[in-house]
Structure formats: structure tokens, C-alpha cells
Amino acid sequence: MEDKTEREKDTIILGVIGSDCHSVGNKILELFFTAEGFKVVNLGVMVSQQEFVDAAIETNAKAILVSSLYGHGEIDCQGFRDLCIEKGLDPIILYAGGNLVVGKTPFSVVEAKFKKMGFDRVFPPDVDLKKVAELLRQDIQEKFGSDSREAKLDKSIQAKESL
């Protein structure tokens, strides 16, 4: 992965949704996914659905990774996929993670709820991030293929720049 140039990397959007200001996990995710070879656009804490979507449009992002730690994730995430479709981001990959479980509900129930809302994958707080990165690469490959139009165009520009 390391030999990818900045322009060839896949862009992913990170942020903590709603009025949630737990910032520690978000910073870790940024460092981790950057090291994994993604181009990370981190919107930080207290991010609205609209902000996620706006950033994804401008950057042509392949995935949005939504965090929610404070227990209101389910409410904050409602309608997220619908908004993406509304804004023409139909194929974008949506992940959710953090403390999505409130009380004694089993994780599988929460997972099902988020999937029904249109999230492609849902993760508990103790997930192995290495595995997440692996899944993300697979999902991107599957949905967008490897030789996207961007990569080709950028190569021609780089060739010019190096003259």
C-alpha cells in the first residue's frame, strides 16, 4: 500500500455524528486509517449528516465511517443513507462504529437496525481495526473496482509535473 501516491489513495470520511464530542477514538481512527494507506478527511466531532455528505461529494470519497459514542447513535444516523441517495452518492460505502449499543440490547439486534438504515457494516467498540481496514479495501474493490477514472487522469498530470 505504501507505494500509492497521495492522488491514487482512496478517500474516506471520518467523523463523530450528532452532538457527540468524544474525540479520542476519532483521533485514533484518523491515525490508523492514514497509516493503512487511505486518504482520510477527518471532520472531527459533532458532525451533522449534511456535513458528512457535503465533504463526501467534494472529495469524491468512497466511504464514510461514522462514529457514535454517547448513546444517541441510532437517532443521529436515521435517514443517513436516504440523504446520500438524495445527493447522488448512491454507491458510497457506509460504516458505523463506537458505542452503538445502549443498555442490555444484544449487538446483533443493533447491527440489524443499522443495516436496515442502509449501513453496509456495523462494528462494536472492541473491533480489531486491522480487520476493518481489510474489509474496507475489499468493499471498495467490489463497488468501485481498482482502476477508477481518477487514478488514470492523475497519472497524466503527474507525468506533466515531473517534466
Binding site: E6, R7, V41, L43, M46, S156
Partner: protein, 471 residues
């Protein structure tokens, strides 16, 4: 001592001043204004120049070459009319508008996402001077940009297009738009939230010189005197930019210019102070910023001011015990008569309310705000837009505010604006109010590039503290 002349060709008046430049200072020697001739902008210029040089009114321009150093600006014929295209309204489109206004332009229309058929038809009808075309981060979105490039290519637009979007498709955009004049510059937003408006500003300025000046019939002046004009608002922008550099006491300032057609708001202050309790959302705005409002003005735009400002105006009229019809009638009278000066005490008061309304809505749009959220650590504020709290001085410039001696016309609306809906507006906390009595800001702005220290010093020296006794 060297004579230096600065002339501003406005839409109704052509103003000029003669300055005496010595080793270290600039002094105002003479000032004059004559009506602008719409069909021939050079005429007013010539008249002003002749008068400043003590020549006869009809002295040909040629005979005045070499008698003084000459600088000039123009806002005649609608100023610099720019159409802004961006992708997402809160990101690249907002930056496109900011760049256009900070280059001294007026945003006549703005578009986000895909241009529709009627958008293109409207563009063709408006015939802007420049289209500022942006969208996508570098390596980001290409779909909308390429789509819009095709639509612009197929349109009947004839003006130059400044492309300041995703760098990854810049060449393709040029290829697609082969029948148009496309000027490529750096992306306004290379990364999400990263602001880069200077290169686009510079390109707009170059186009103004090359194309617009010709179109306005000003090339004769350029050829004879070798000086390049600026759009008037850019002159003021440059003055406001330069003041803190040479006068550290004036590190944070704002200026408001209320004209007959528009209200301009300039600020020079850091837009966001990072703390644990304030989180910035959206773009981090530049330190020097100009906004211009086409619906806020004292004469030509009085009608639209009445619509936009209805809430504020009605509140003021109620407090003063004036019937709303009185204002309606007054506005009807003045919007047809753009040179009208109020004749009675009552009319002066109505005019003041209109000016307050311009200040209120121009500040509302220029300044950012905070919304409160509670967390266990206490309150957290979510900031959008620009923080003007540290601004220590506000200068009233332009026709109405230059003539108005009282600070109240600025202070009162700003006080009333402290909170707006559920937002706390980030307005200057305890500013001093000044007026640019001789309306020298645009004229001195023309000199800033060459004589920054002297021009900013004279600009500040010519300010008068606006008095506190009001209405």
C-alpha cells in the same frame, strides 16, 4: 514634493483627490467630484483631472500627461459582475462567492451542483463579466465539474471563465471548453475546509485589467498614463488589508460602506480562535474578507431593502411611533430619485432607519455565530462563519456613513443583532466607531500598492470619531 492624483469613477460620481507626497507623508491638497457620464467614462475622469491640475475644464487628456502620478479605480457600469459556480453550497460555492467579493466583484448569481437548462439560460441572459467556476477538492469530485463544463461550452456565454476547481480535471475542462476563454488557477478548496482564494482573486484582477477595462472604454486612460485601474471595492479591500501591517494598534478593524445600490462590509481580523470549548464547522474564513449585498442600499435598492429588512424596520418604526405607510411613501419617493437628499427632520430620521437596516443585515451576513450545546464539561459552542468579536474599530465609509456624524446608526443595529434566533452573533465586542468623513478610503486604496505606509497613515489620520449623541 510630488503631486499624486487618485480618481474613482463611480456609477453616479467621479471623485478625485490631489495629494502632496513628501519624503515620509502624504497630504490631501484638493478634492472634487463631478457627475459620471454613463456613455463616456473618460469624460468625468478628464474633468476631475483638469480641475485637480488647475486646468480648464475641456483640457484634452493628452496635455495632462506627466503632470502628476495618476492612479484610478472604477465601479461604473455595474462594477465587476461575477457569476459563481460551486459544487456544495456550504463548501466550494461559498468560497467562490467569497473569492469573487474579495476581488472587488459583485456576485450577480450563484449556482451549486449541476447547472440546469434554466440556469444556463439565465447565465446567458445576465452576461456576467466573469464566470468563476469551482467545485471538488484536488483529486475529488469530477462528475459535476465535467458535466457543467460541457454545459458552459454549449452555452452562448462569451465572458472569460476562471476555473478554480479540482486540479485533477483542469486540463480536461480546458479541452471541453475549447470555444471559451478558460483561465486555470489553483483550487479554491484543495482539501475539505482548506481555504485558498488568493490565486483566483489574482486571476480575476488580471481579467479586470485586460478585458473589462477595454469594455468600459477606459483603455485610453491606461495607455496615456500607464496606470492600471482597480475595481473600487478592491481598492478599499487593499487599504483595509494594509492598515494592520503598518499600524499595529489597528490590528483588528472593520469598515462598512452603504451606497445607493449596495452595502459593503469589510473585516480584517482572525476568523477563529481555537479553544476547547469552541468547535468550528464549515470553512475557516480568511482574515481579510469582503461581503457585498445587492439588496441593501439607500436609493436604487431601497425597495429591496424594505423587503429584506421588514422585521427590523417595522420594529424601529413601532418604537418611534411612526406609521409604516410613512416609510412606504418615503421609499417610493427615493427609489425613483437616486440623488435625493432628505429635506425635513422626519425624512432624515427615515433615512437613518434605512441606513441602520443596511448595517443590520450586512453584519448579519458577514459575521458568524455560535450555537450552544451542553456537555458534562460545561457549555460547548459550535461556531459557523467569522468571529468579529476582537474588532476594535469600525469605520463608516461611503455616501451615507461618511456624512452621518453619529455612531448610533452603526451601534444600535449591531446591539440589536447580538443574538439572532438561537445563535449568538460574533460581533465586535466593544468597538470604537469612526467615520471616513472625506470619503477617502477608495481614493487612498488606489495608492496602497505603491505607497502603503503613507496611504494607510493618511487614511487613519483622516478618520473622525463618530459622536455618541444620536437621534
Amino acid at each position: 514634493m510630488k503631486p499624486v492624483i487618485s480618481i474613482d469613477i463611480g456609477s453616479t460620481w467621479t471623485k478625485g483627490a490631489l495629494f502632496a507626497l513628501t519624503d515620509s507623508s502624504l497630504q490631501l491638497s484638493k478634492k472634487i467630484a463631478v457627475p459620471t457620464t454613463q456613455t463616456n467614462l473618460v469624460q468625468g475622469f478628464t474633468e476631475v483631472l483638469a480641475s485637480l491640475l488647475n486646468r480648464e475644464k475641456l483640457t484634452p487628456l493628452k496635455q495632462m500627461v506627466g503632470k502628476a502620478e495618476i492612479y484610478f479605480s472604477s465601479s461604473a457600469k455595474g462594477g465587476l459582475r461575477i457569476a459563481a459556480i460551486g459544487l456544495v453550497p456550504d463548501l466550494t460555492l461559498q468560497l467562490a462567492k467569497l473569492a469573487a467579493m474579495s476581488a472587488g466583484g459583485k456576485v450577480i448569481r450563484s449556482f451549486s451542483f449541476s447547472l440546469t437548462k434554466s440556469d444556463v439560460a439565465e447565465l446567458e441572459k445576465l452576461q456576467p463579466d466573469i464566470v468563476l467556476f469551482s467545485g471538488g477538492t484536488d483529486g475529488g469530485n469530477t462528475k459535476y465539474i465535467l458535466e457543467n463544463a460541457h454545459k458552459l461550452e454549449d452555452s452562448r456565454l462569451t465572458c472569460p471563465v476562471v476555473y478554480a476547481g479540482n486540479r485533477g480535471v483542469a486540463e480536461e475542462v480546458v479541452e471541453i471548453m475549447k470555444s471559451k476563454e478558460v483561465i486555470v488557477t489553483e483550487n479554491l478548496m484543495p482539501e475539505v475546509g482548506q481555504v485558498n482564494i488568493e490565486p483566483a482573486r489574482e486571476k480575476i484582477r488580471e481579467i479586470f485589467l485586460k478585458r473589462i477595462v477595454n469594455g468600459r472604454g477606459l483603455s485610453e486612460i491606461v495607455e496615456l498614463f500607464g496606470s492600471q485601474p482597480k475595481p473600487t471595492p478592491l481598492a478599499v479591500f487593499e487599504l483595509v488589508s494594509a492598515i494592520p501591517q503598518f499600524h499595529p494598534d489597528w490590528s483588528d478593524l472593520a469598515a462598512i460602506d452603504i451606497g445607493g445600490a449596495t452595502t459593503d462590509f469589510y473585516s480584517n481580523t482572525e476568523s477563529y480562535l481555537e479553544t476547547d470549548t469552541v468547535i468550528l464547522k464549515g470553512i475557516r474564513e480568511p482574515r481579510v474578507k469582503r461581503t457585498v449585498e445587492g439588496d441593501l442600499g439607500m436609493r436604487v435598492s431601497a425597495r429591496s431593502l424594505l423587503d429584506t429588512g421588514r422585521v427590523y424596520i417595522e420594529d424601529r418604526l413601532r418604537n418611534l411611533g411612526i406609521e409604516p405607510e410613512v416609510m412606504e411613501k418615503f421609499v417610493e419617493k427615493i427609489s425613483g430619485n437616486t440623488e435625493y437628499l432628505p429635506e425635513t427632520e422626519a425624512e432624515i430620521q427615515l433615512d437613518r432607519i434605512l441606513a441602520e437596516t443596511c448595517v443590520y443585515y450586512a453584519a448579519l451576513r458577514h459575521a458568524g455565530g455560535w450555537k450552544e450545546t451542553y456537555t458534562p464539561q460545561g457549555k460547548v459552542y459550535v461556531q459557523t462563519g467569522k468571529d468579529l468579536r476582537r474588532v476594535k474599530a469600525i469605520v463608516g465609509s461611503g455616501g451615507f456613513l461618511a456624512a452621518e456624524g453619529s455612531a448610533e446608526v452603526m451601534r444600535l443595529p449591531l446591539e440589536k443583532l447580538r443574538s439572532f434566533g438561537d445563535e449568538k452573533k460574533l460581533l465586535p465586542e466593544n468597538p470604537a466607531f469612526y467615520r471616513d468623513r472625506d470619503y477617502l478610503f477608495p481614493l487612498l486604496g488606489n495608492l496602497v500598492e505603491k505607497y502603503p505606509k503613507e496611504a494607510t497613515t493618511l487614511a487613519l489620520a483622516s478618520l473622525e470619531i463618530a459622536s455618541d449623541e444620536g437621534m
